[in-house]
């Protein structure tokens, strides 16, 4: 095995141990439910295959350490936690096993899942320094040396650059998984009637219709998690470099925030095979109180992922407040920092509300506390308030860093100062603040008190003002600039165009009289894909193309980059215009089938084809990304001719960032002014993180 390529080793272990896990699960299923009631694609064999397969894949790649050890501990922890609950139930005289085909009762899955996630953290080793501190043992100031080469990415590292790349690669993996789910249900939607997700299907204890629902729901949440991780990746990598710090303020917390996302993703994915759920990503009760146990795994996964973002936000804010280079006053910070801070403030506070709302559904299901059960005196609308108090602001978490990236890169490629720097900086905070008071625009049709509709309509329309500031600044920055269009700039321009359409489709949803018709149709789906692609996906790609040389010392292939852009952008426009078109003609969201009499077959087919084209373009990107790490053109200097400090030193960035600290002596974006630049390096070793 030694001299086989590690990826092949991983795949071989995946197959062998996946099959073994399947066998174990199948055996258990037969023992508990009897041979007649055991389906070959049932939840228990699948969940064991998933767990064993995952762990074994990483075992094949790097051996028993890092993430392999974490996953192994997660499996063991899950089983231990589950059997504790089974034992307690047995002692209380309740049925110890579940009759509905999920082997364990719901409480055992939930508690097991939680214990499993915590065990992962111990297994992977991010907690070991804290355990030492708690016991009064000091750990060295200097970070332990990471091993060289790619293997360091599979175990705990405290280096913000390594963590940033771990985040980005995980985000790309999740985008691929979420995208795959989308292609599956888009294919089903390509024509009216049910083609392959039929009622006759029986897989993971759900029929085709339920599977469709599970796939759209998981598509939504997996993409959201991937966005959060993608943003965390960019900010983690870039922000300490921008402010001249050697690392984030809390390196261990930083590693913790990344690694906790891994068990969260495992939990989310396990919901697919544990019966799925049919609520969409929003998880509204009462539907979510009736769904199979997969629902609980979804809630738990989101809850755990929420901690990843909260702790990441704490770290980011503290880093920026405490570790900026000399002379970097608030008005001289790069604009990306302003927008990331605004986003982090939202994450820090509002995330607790989605956690709480989900937790309350979990408790309702487990202990019969009927918070959202109207029959028992509860109030399902309360859930929607709590949920949207997070989930509206979070759309600004998705887009603010992306908009910051646009403002960061535009001056570089237009060779002109950013127009209205202070206004742009303030607009990010403005969007974040107004974002807190608009949540009920998602509930115009929910049956909440009617008098709430008007204030929420106006507050929502108010968001357009700070958003407009940004557009104004972008256009004015480009005006009469010396614009060049390498791939990162193409994506910036694409982002502006796409976000423009997304923004324009907002006010019609915000206006009560139109929204009552548009709500729950494909118009909404088109709207938010435009905003999220414009505000996150395009800028994310721009950022990856732009900072890739900083991380690797090579640049990504331009031809492939252009193919990526020119394939993705038009296809994407067709995709979302198709969605909106179908929506205006009456296509509802979240249904697997539609009436042939609506004559939507044509537009759905076009939309599906466009979806496939977007997927192909992303595959081109992923290929380019991994190909260029080794084979890209060398680019060790200031590739984009930027003023920013990270480009004033050779790439790739050394382990401890800057050798010397720098002082800010100019404005960040004064391109073409002929001054002495933004920063000056001074003879003083850079200060330490701890």
């Amino acid at each position: 095995m030694k001299n086989i390529n590690p990826v092949w080793r991983g795949l071989i272990s995946l197959i062998v141990f996946g099959a073994l896990g399947y066998g174990v699960g199948f055996g258990i299923s037969v023992l508990v439910n009897g041979a007649a009631k055991t389906s070959p694609a049932g939840p228990i064999p699948s969940v064991f295959a998933l767990f064993f397969g995952f762990a074994a894949f990483f075992f094949g790649v790097i051996g028993y350490r890092g993430v392999t050890r974490g996953l192994t501990w997660q499996v063991i922890g899950t089983l231990v936690g589950a059997f504790v609950v089974v034992g307690i139930r047995a002692a209380m005289g309740l049925s110890a096993f579940d009759g509905k085909g999920f082997f364990l009762p719901e409480g055992a899955w939930v508690f097991g899942g939680l214990v499993g996630a915590i065990s992962f953290m111990f297994g992977v080793g991010v907690l070991s320094d804290w355990v030492k501190w708690a016991r009064g043992i000091e750990t060295p100031e200097e970070h332990p040396q990471d091993e060289s080469g790619w293997k360091k990415f599979f175990s705990v590292s405290l280096d913000h650059k390594v963590i940033g790349i771990q985040y980005v690669v995980t985000a790309l993996l999740l985008i691929s998984i979420g995208g795959l789910f989308a292609l599956i249900f888009r294919t089903e939607l390509a024509a009216s009637q049910l083609q392959f997700l039929t009622e006759g299907l029986n897989i993971f204890s759900q029929n085709g219709l339920q599977l469709f629902n599970t796939l759209i729901s998981l598509h939504g949440m997996i993409m959201i998690v991937s966005i959060l991780l993608g943003i965390a990746g960019i900010t983690n990598y870039v922000i300490p470099l921008l402010i001249g710090a050697q690392d984030m303020a809390f390196p261990r917390l930083n590693a913790f925030s990344f690694w906790i996302a891994v068990p969260a993703v495992v939990l989310l994915l396990s919901s697919l095979v544990l019966g799925g759920f049919d609520t969409g990503w929003t998880g509204y009760p009462p539907l979510s109180t009736l769904a199979p146990v997969g629902m609980q795994m979804f809630f738990l996964g989101v809850f755990v992922a929420g901690w990843s973002s909260i702790l990441g936000a704490i770290n980011l804010i503290t880093t920026v407040v405490r570790m900026r280079a000399k002379g970097m006053t608030a008005w001289r910070m790069p604009i990306l920092i302003w927008s990331s801070i605004a986003a982090s403030l939202i994450t820090l506070t509002a995330t607790q509300f989605i956690g709480l709302s989900f937790q309350m559904v979990m408790f309702q299901r487990l202990f019969g506390m009927g918070f959202y059960d109207a029959a028992k005196g509860g109030n399902p609308i309360l859930f929607q308030h709590l949920f949207w108090f997070y989930s509206h602001p979070v759309v600004y978490v998705f887009v603010l860093p992306g908009l910051g990236i646009i403002s960061e890169l535009l001056p570089v490629f237009s060779r002109k100062p950013l127009f209205g720097y202070r206004w742009v900086a303030m607009s990010s905070l403005g969007i974040a603040m107004v974002g807190y008071i608009v949540w009920a625009h998602h509930m115009f049709a929910s049956g909440m008190n009617e008098y709430l509709r008007i204030p929420f309509m106006y507050s929502t329309l108010l968001v357009s003002v700070p958003t407009g500031v940004k557009f104004f600044s972008w256009v004015a920055t480009m005006w009469r600039g010396k614009i060049s269009t390498p791939t990162p700039m193409l994506f910036v321009l694409g982002a502006i165009m796409v976000f423009f359409i997304g923004g324009l489709t907002g006010p019609m949803n915000a206006t009560v009289s139109t929204d009552l018709f548009l709500h729950d149709t494909y118009v909404i789906v088109g709207h938010f894909h435009d905003t999220i692609f414009g505000g996150f996906v395009f800028p994310f790609f721009a950022a990856l193309y732009y900072w890739f040389p900083k991380a690797t010392g090579r640049r990504m292939n331009e031809t492939l980059g252009k193919i990526h852009f020119y394939l993705m952008t038009p296809s994407f426009f067709v995709l979302t215009f198709g969605m909106m078109y179908a929506g205006f003609l009456g296509m509802r969201r979240r249904i697997a089938d539609y009436d042939p009499e609506l004559h939507l077959d044509g537009i759905h087919l076009v939309t599906t084809i466009a979806g496939y084209l977007v997927a192909i373009s992303v595959i081109v990107f992923i290929f380019n990304f991994f190909y260029s790490i080794k084979h890209g053109e060398k680019a060790e200097g200031n590739v984009w001719n930027s003023r920013s400090p990270e480009w004033q030193v050779p790439s790739p960035m050394p382990v401890h960032n800057y050798d010397k600290s720098f002082e800010v002596i100019g404005e960040p974006y004064d391109y073409g002014s002929g001054d002495n630049g933004y920063v000056k390096f001074i003879d003083e070793p850079a200060s330490n993180a701890h």
Partner: protein
Amino acid sequence: MAHTQDKSSALSQGVIIFVYLAVLTIIEYFVALTFDATGLLIVIAIIKAALVMYYYMHVYKLNSDEGADNRNSYAYKAATDRLGLWLFLLSDTFVFAGLMVSRMNLLGLTRPHLNQALGLFVTAVLLVSSFFMNRGETAMKFGDVKGFMKNTAVTFVLGLAFLLGVVFVEWRMAAAEGLTASFGNPATGPVGGVFYLMTGMHAFHVLTGLIFLAVVWNNARKGIYTAEKHWGVEAATVYWHFVDLVWIFFYPALYLIGKVVQ
């Protein structure tokens, strides 16, 4: 300002603040017993919270520029840690705020039927624990490790008493009076669920606070803290007072405001 005080005036300040808090709590209790004054109760709770935040949690320290001349100094790093801790508490506040919102939405101006004497008693226990925590921290600030350990031990015992009191006495008595977590009782509706969720979430924080206290107590025993370097102690203290701060709002929300549901 507090950080330039000598030890005895710092300690006596702790006593004075404790007296204020105790008197306000008693006023609160009797106000609630005699007439319906939700607004007044909110004002009292806010005053109590402000006292705790300023004098016990020393929130003003966030603004200090200790160690700014040397970023590698312990003081500078402790100040960085302090900001991180307060951001965490801000985030945590939103959990409790969400619970409050749910409570107001589901119960409005009604409250569960609970044993008032017991409620006042556990509240007093937690308040006294905060007082000893403050003494402990003050002792540490002046390098008195023994004094720190003694006072923290008292805090720990009181905290444990609160935790056990809520979970084993309060919950049992409530259950015996018909308050069930599963909204079984058609008359009380969601009251039970809200009560157990709020007290449960708070109790969970008390539990983590106790673990934190045990850890710093043990480390103090090993002698790793000094008058200048005791960030761990400060963090545990602030966290413990935060747990008390939450109860300052939860106590009236559960015991005092609104009409009792039978």
